[in-house]
């Protein structure tokens, strides 16, 4: 019993339960959690669960499996908090929250101290409707961004494909952020605090770059120089 309890910690939050996992193997932790639920079903009935997995890397099938197991116990998996970008991406793909109301102190964990060595998130697939990518750095997509998908980046956003969704670059107010796409026709476009009128850009499809000049978003066609 003690063994199980040292693996996972459960505490109540305003809007659900927060389960903090240790560094032990995922399978052990999952069974520890489920065992504990089966022991006290009344405590967990109808609960919303946020899972803090620390630095563990979780893949989609593992999370899906857990979510199904939880849903059979009438528990909703609501959020996954993680320090690993891979796990965060997994959670976002499954439509789970990756942050809970109280932001975690290590908000700057991706940012490097050297401004020339900024980090970027590389996404090697098409972002479909309902996907929301939030990243404290640049975002590079090799694929399309479909209508209904959103990217919010503290840095710039580069899309090697069609841009049809909503993008917000420089979300912390960085006016040097840029948005580029091979086929530039976003549903909504914002850079720092400025929103752009994208209706003109949506008429014809071509490679374009958007940036801020004189407090306004300018969209220019890309020409090989």
């Amino acid at each position: 019993m003690n063994d199980l309890h040292s693996l996972i910690q459960i505490k109540g939050l305003r809007d659900g339960l927060l389960v903090s996992l240790s560094e032990a193997p995922w399978a052990d932790q999952q069974s520890a959690l489920l065992t504990q639920m089966d022991e006290q079903p009344s405590f967990f009935q109808g609960a919303r669960l946020a899972l803090d997995v620390g630095t563990q890397i979780l893949h989609v099938n593992e999370v899906v499996d857990l979510r199904d197991q939880l849903s059979e116990r009438n528990v909703v998996l609501w959020a996954i908090l993680s320090e690993s970008p891979i796990t965060e991406q997994t959670a976002q793909l499954l439509g789970l929250a990756t942050r809970i109301s109280k932001p975690r102190p290590e908000e700057t964990r991706f940012a490097s101290s050297d401004p020339n060595e900024e980090t970027a998130l590389f996404i090697n697939k098409t972002l479909r409707s309902g996907t929301r990518i939030e990243f404290p750095g640049h975002v590079v997509v090799l694929g399309d961004v479909n209508p209904g998908a959103e990217i919010i980046a503290v840095g710039s956003i580069i899309i090697w494909g069609r841009l049809r969704g909503a993008v917000h670059a420089g979300s912390n107010g960085d006016k040097s952020a840029k948005v580029c796409a091979l086929d530039f026709a976003p549903m909504q476009l914002r850079i720092a605090k400025e929103a752009a009128n994208v209706n003109d850009a949506r008429e014809t499809a071509s490679p374009r770059m958007a940036f801020i000049r004189d407090e306004r978003v300018v969209i220019e066609s890309w020409k090989p120089s």
Binding site: V60, N61, D68, L93, S129, G130, N146, P147, G148, R164
Partner: protein, 265 residues
Amino acid sequence: MTAQVVTISSGKGGVGKTTAVANIAFALAASGSKVVCIDGDIGLRNLDVVMGLENRIVYDIVDVIEGRCKLRQAMIRDKHLPELYLIPAAQTRDKNAVSPSDMKRICDEIRPDADFVLIDSPAGIERGFRNAIAAADRVLVITNPEVSAVRDADRVIGILEAEEKHSPALILNRLNPDLVKQHDMLSAEDVLDLLGIKLIGIVPEDESVIVGSNRGVPVSQDPKSRAGQAFRNIAHRLKGEDVPFMDLDKQGGLWDRIQKMAGRR
């Protein structure tokens, strides 16, 4: 025999999931396969109506799950096709009466005795949808050539990809070639461009589909209906046969025939 479990899903409601399940099931069964349909829309069941089996329901899928009857007892045999069965949904319960593992268990039980299990998914992306895709070997995503339906299909495909349900295929339903020609409707190319998945069939708009659904005689039984032909083609493609796509421009209407006779086409 090991059945292939095929789920038909769309995200948006009213695009033709239930109609497609009924039609594809009839076409598969008519061509000699043993088919079991499962209505996944617990609480809002429709598949029994479209298949014309409403008055034969004694037990439903929730009765099977809760152990009130055997699986065999809940399988309703079709009036004409002896190799076509329906497991109806419960009307008085909701989606929470079934869990993903219940669906897997039922499908695994059917698998050795059938060629195809077709699951009709409810609209939405919540519990009912999760149940419907849990056991699926393949998912067919159905959409209409409308921006809102395509948006929802895109979301569903995203979830399927995230769950690693491999290569969903697309059914484009209710395409009107005349409206496409006038640029008043999304074309098949527009839809495929956005969704980026394999096409398994295009079903033209056809009034006889509605008539068939209301009568409980799916249109794929009607050799003259073009939508029926499209559904039969999908059934053949599901079996792994290579069927060319229909030429939707050929309306076969009176005016076309006159023009043909006059040698203008």
